[in-house]
Symmetry: C2
Subunit: 361 residues, 2 copies
DNA sequence: ATGAAAGCGCTAACAA
DNA sequence: TTGTTAGCGCTTTCAT
């Protein structure tokens, strides 16, 4: 390990190339007002010295940090991994760095909004999935940089999100179209700081039922913790012990749906013959479980949000209220099928139709 | 949206508090040489002005950026999500920012090593999971900051990793102890830029067989693409059509193991009765599939790497060759069981013992 | 097309 | 305990 030798500065490059630092600066930023020969000399010197511009020094004078910050509830989730993975190359291509603020709990959240460490240290902030208070939003408003809300709709601020009402509406319609009338909706309780669009999804579910003339039944709307097999077993028991149990379950997250299916397999409840299960998200887990689901694309969100950020950084006159609404898609796989004939649950009168949802993929 | 009003500077705070900028600086950095009354005045002024120190300006003089950079092949993986998720709070607590360089393909990789954008923009670099060339390692050596290698052992440089030879050794022993003698090993081919310790794991597998007196058979070592169901079906076919097919399969990644199980379920090959399957990683997917596996902890790696980084940043005299080796654990779940009696595959002569691996969890 | 000089917002001697 | 001063390494007028 070489002892931390000082980094070469522009002055070093300038000296070696026999020019002034101004010329070095102009060359390295690609300004056209440099003669080809001088440019060549400078670039050679810079390469030989392994010179890299100090963003610190540059940003001190330009007022730009060359950094985009993201505020995320966690990094350990399919959603964030996918979203950041499409955001990162986009920023890289624009010569921007990516700064991550992970705020997994209330203490960190409070600290973040109190000190706003991103202030002066980024050119834009992308806020993912948080359900902010008005006060928090107001704090971000005077952060002095464009703030883009992702996976979250915030009135009057640039936002990128999917239409969860429509997503849940279509998902529920899919079940209705299969003949289901007793459709349960399973919500997430106490998510790990993550804010799902739980209310919107419930609303879409209710809208679909209403438009189909199916009465809403509060007993069919339950909530549980995500990724908890035991908790899923409990809600499953609750639902299946209703006087009129559901023939289909719509879980507002794939993880929830999979936890239900896991329990059903264990207890010999046939999916989808006895109960259809529909998820929401289309994360990789859904594919492994052949789960029918409502797909959203976090990578599209990351990309759209990144592009919006770049636009807002460049054009301070750009449209600061722009909303980008991304679509959802119902992906039928093997866990949704036509409802079994009522009062005939053991038998399959509908034959081929009954296994339609399990067609070889 | 308020027009990007200029950020207040220390001079503004100083004026408002009626002191010099030096005093403001000292106060805000928590130096003890400030009288309580003055400190109070300064803090009040800073709060009222919503002042935040410009790291750019500070680092220009201190030579420290207050940032730790991570170089990762992708952000969209269980491993990285988990590792960064434990790294982030640690850095936050130390007042450091987290800068992410995602290098998903060769082009980006080349660009990264050519320009080393982290130079001068971080106080330390954590390199995750890359199988670097000597030249690349050499480039990082003169980056002018501590470089810590994570999930990768690099001679003479600080590294944090698990002992994959031992992990695979123990995993294979688990299968041997269950009576298996025909044990296949499935490798990953052409991973998505990610470098697994494939060779080490294979070595551990071979060591275990050798120490048990089981001859190595090249036909039992196959490779396929991860997360590809179709490709998994092919290697499964290859293995099962051997003259002496394996009774157990050790996949070097959980995803691979799950893909095999998925195909076996589809084709009515009983797991673990007919074939035992063992994975490696213990990612969440393993739990969902009740997969027996060899566990490693990326979150421990993230934490250890972070702590090592902090140490190396502070103590430039610290041990720069320190290696932290983390343990692996065999986690038996429901996909490994004692081998069925040879030539008796249809029957279960071993009764209770045969279903040991599926005991209710 | 190039250079000289000023200054971005801080911190770190050094004085007082 | 506090203030004064001199830069840190760049970019940006303004000259030339």
């Amino acid at each position: 390990m070489p002892p931390a030798q000082r980094h070469p500065t522009m002055a070093d490059v300038a000296e070696r190339a026999g020019v002034s630092t101004s010329t070095v600066s102009r060359t390295l930023r690609g300004l056209s007002t440099v003669s080809p020969e001088v440019r060549a000399r400078v670039e050679k010197a810079a390469r030989e010295l392994n010179f890299a511009v100090s963003r610190q020094a540059a940003s001190l004078v330009t007022g730009r940090t060359g950094t985009v910050a993201v505020l995320v509830p966690t990094l350990d989730s399919w959603f964030m991994g996918s979203a950041l993975s499409s955001l990162a190359p986009l920023l890289r291509a624009a010569g921007l760095q990516l700064n991550v603020y992970e705020v997994p709990d209330l203490a960190e959240r409070t600290a973040f909004f109190e000190h706003l460490p991103a202030r002066r240290n980024a050119d834009a902030l992308l806020v993912f999935s948080f359900d902010l208070t008005d006060e928090e939003t107001a704090r971000l408003d005077d952060l002095g940089m464009p703030v883009i809300y992702v996976s979250r709709q915030v009135a009057g601020r640039p936002s990128v999100y999917v239409d969860d009402v429509a997503g849940a509406l279509h998902g529920t319609r899919h079940l209705l179209n299969l003949g289901h009338r007793r459709i349960a909706f399973v919500q997430t309780a106490g998510a790990s700081g993550f804010s799902f669009s739980s209310d919107e999804r419930l609303l879409g579910y209710q809208q679909a039922l209403t438009e189909a003339g199916v009465p809403l039944d509060d007993a069919l709307v339950v909530s549980t913790r995500a990724g908890d097999k035991r908790a899923a077993a409990e809600v499953l028991g609750t639902l299946l012990s209703l006087r009129e149990p559901p023939t289909a379950v719509f879980a507002e997250q794939d993880e929830l749906a999979v936890a239900l299916i896991w329990n059903m397999r264990r207890t010999q409840i046939a999916v989808p013959e006895r109960v259809s299960v529909l998820g929401y998200d289309d994360q990789p887990l859904a594919d492994w479980f052949d789960l029918s689901t409502v797909a959203q694309s976090p990578s599209d969100m990351g990309r759209e949000a990144g592009e919006l950020a770049l636009k807002l950084i460049d054009d301070s006159g750009a449209d600061h209220e722009r909303h980008v609404v991304l679509p959802t898609y119902v992906i039928p796989r093997a866990t949704t099928a036509p409802v079994a004939r009522p009062r005939d649950e053991g038998e399959r009168h509908t034959g081929g139709e009954g296994t339609l949802g399990r067609a070889p993929s």
